[in-house]
Assembly symmetry: C2
Homo-oligomer: 389 residues x 2
């Protein structure tokens, strides 16, 4: 593990950190990584983790302690960063524009990395001819599939699937496979529904690959995944690789879906008590939405966790205490409505940890992780994150 | 204005910017700054703008083209940044913890700046004695008032007001005044209600100052403000300074409150069309919540603007087209439900601008502004923002 480049506060113990700040529990991170790696191995597929949640080379090194492996990225800036760190095989899992495809292929030419692109229209396929001409690089392309009406992509039985594949080839690009993301699985909350969503994702993806192969496209990669379906898939026959991102950290939304325990959540924001309103049952902290994010993903779940679940400084959950309101740099803690509990005593200066609704969104509010291990107050490392596009 | 330090994309025209990216219209910024400056002058109060929205020395220089004036900050990191740029008089408008007060006074000792602190409890007041002892700096302190049950602060008639003031003095700190923020004004939407909220904020603040003065505290500064009440205040007798932050940029929430026109909104995210689902009336763009923020502040207003109002590349509003859904790096554009409109043709590669629900939250997702002027496609400057705590 990288040593601490500079202190994250006035010292390297949790009690000395400047708040609010982002904590990462390395033991939970490692456990979460291990869990899905074992599942993927059992199912006979390659893991292509999505780095959009962690955005950190140090976290990537926990996934790949040896040689850099295949990864997924959400921005060209992430691709540039991981290419610089020696990652040779990446998928940019956002539909291409002519401009982003050009940047991507320039990156490939400059670094030798293979950055695979995603598309679902003939217009995008046609644009690749110019990109190839301008950069001298042959784009590797996935066709995006739509398995659950979530966002973009083509249904496997859409006649455009074959048309787009043919146009990719006509543009001089290489069709490397099909890619699906069962984004609607986030809205589920029973094992049976999740198993079904995973199987639906598999069936759609394998069907599309078969249709393309019947038309003469080799379609070597059959890629799918979302954190919920990745964990609940029981059979991935015909699939070659699995993608997931938030699984490394987990969060309260994933807990609400049923994918993880609260205790699996590896990141939190450390905050300090700055006041109270006893007559309202409020305790004020110095972490608002700037530190926690505006994400309210649990608002539509069975248990609304407000802006996050509150733990003590060691990470022990304070039962039924949540962040009920957040402004830019203020959070208001209170007991969950209807819980019948009373607020624990949290005097001025007390440190608390706030668990995220959505790990991707909370982490994005910070430039680095202060890495610790379980309840130990020692900060082992500072891991930088990247930003931007 | 600072020249462009480095290109923001492959060129310095809007069509060459890498998307998504944050645009700032300098002419609108200047107009918004001028508008509130004139109002404050008419009302006979000093402006102490809140830099939490802009977080940029270049924007501060538009407010203070000459000597740096008094400002408000939301983090000690902002205070450090503005102190380095010569700002001598700042208020840290978040309730202090012992640790933040120590950092603040160390900053004052190191730079000579006067960073005023905020508190509302005897515990906070008592903690100042140690801070003074450790740093050798006498803290300047505001007592935070609560004029509308929004968050922290003391009601003017709370006996604790005088008790806290006495304890501030007993701790060897200097009580410089009282400070209120009518945060509930964001929930209003009629001129009459806003005028009333502004007057209520004034009455509470002046009353508290009078109570303290009757007890022998000089209370030289009487500070109040929120963007809505600052604009609707008709009389600020007894008040010495006005604070506001989002007024520089404005946003859709402020438009919903009734403080600004859509055309006053000075920032937007430039995005590129990456696909469409004509059968659903969807157009996909490369700006999701990572670029737009998760803020859904208009959801509770009369007009829900989704994740933002869509404009063409020049900033002209596409009527009734909004961002209806956002994932991390994808936004989905569609016509507002019930509008009866049909989606305009936005082919692959088309550039659009998205106006923010909440300017503070959108800007926080970006590291710099690409500054332009009205409909001109020329990028005049790149202004950096700061982050962190």
């Amino acid at each position: 593990m990288d040593a601490i480049a500079e202190p994250t506060g006035t010292g390297t113990r949790v009690e000395n950190l400047v708040t609010p700040t982002l904590l990462l529990d390395r033991s939970k991170l490692d456990r979460n990584i291990q869990r899905l790696a074992e599942h993927a191995e059992k199912l006979g597929v390659v893991m292509r983790p999505h780095m959009k949640t962690a955005k950190s080379i140090d976290v990537a090194r926990r996934v790949f302690p040896g040689e850099p492996g295949p990864i997924t990225v959400s921005t060209i800036a992430e691709a540039e960063y991981f290419a610089e760190h020696g990652y040779p095989d990446m998928t940019y899992a956002v539909g291409l524009s002519p401009a982003s495809a050009l940047r991507a292929m320039e990156l490939c030419r400059r670094t030798g990395a293979d950055l695979k692109l995603l598309l679902d229209t003939v217009e995008q396929a046609d644009a690749l001819a110019d990109v190839r001409k301008a950069t001298g690089v042959t784009p590797s392309v996935f066709i995006e599939l739509d398995c659950d009406d979530h966002r973009g992509g083509l249904k496997p039985d859409d006649p455009k699937l074959v048309e787009v594949a043919d146009r990719v080839v006509a543009a001089g690009a290489e069709l490397v496979g099909v890619l699906a993301h069962a984004g609607e699985s986030y809205a589920l909350n029973t094992p049976a529904a999740l198993v079904k969503a995973a199987e639906n994702e598999r069936l759609a993806t394998v069907k599309a690959a078969e249709i393309l192969r019947a038309r003469g496209h080799a379609c070597p990669i059959v890629s799918l995944g979302s954190t919920p379906t990745a964990h609940f898939a029981e059979n991935l026959d015909g699939v070659t690789e699995l993608r997931a991102g938030v699984y490394m950290f987990f969060d309260l939304v994933q807990h609400g879906v049923g994918v993880c325990a609260i205790d699996d959540i590896a990141i939190s924001v450390l905050a300090t008590v700055i006041g109270s309103k006893p007559e309202k049952g409020w305790v004020l902290i110095d972490a608002g939405w700037m530190a926690l994010s505006r994400d309210r993903g649990t608002a539509s779940q069975q248990i609304d966790q407000g802006y996050g679940v509150v733990c003590d400084e060691t990470g022990q959950v304070l039962e039924d205490v949540i962040v009920v309101q957040a402004s830019q740099e203020h959070g208001i803690l209170a007991v969950r409505s209807g819980s019948g509990k009373s607020m624990p005593d949290l005097p001025l200066g007390t440190r608390v940890r706030i668990l995220p609704n959505h790990a991707c969104a909370m982490a994005a509010q910070h430039d680095f992780y202060s890495v610790l291990n379980g309840k130990s107050p020692e900060i082992e490392a500072r891991w930088e994150r990247i930003r931007g596009w």
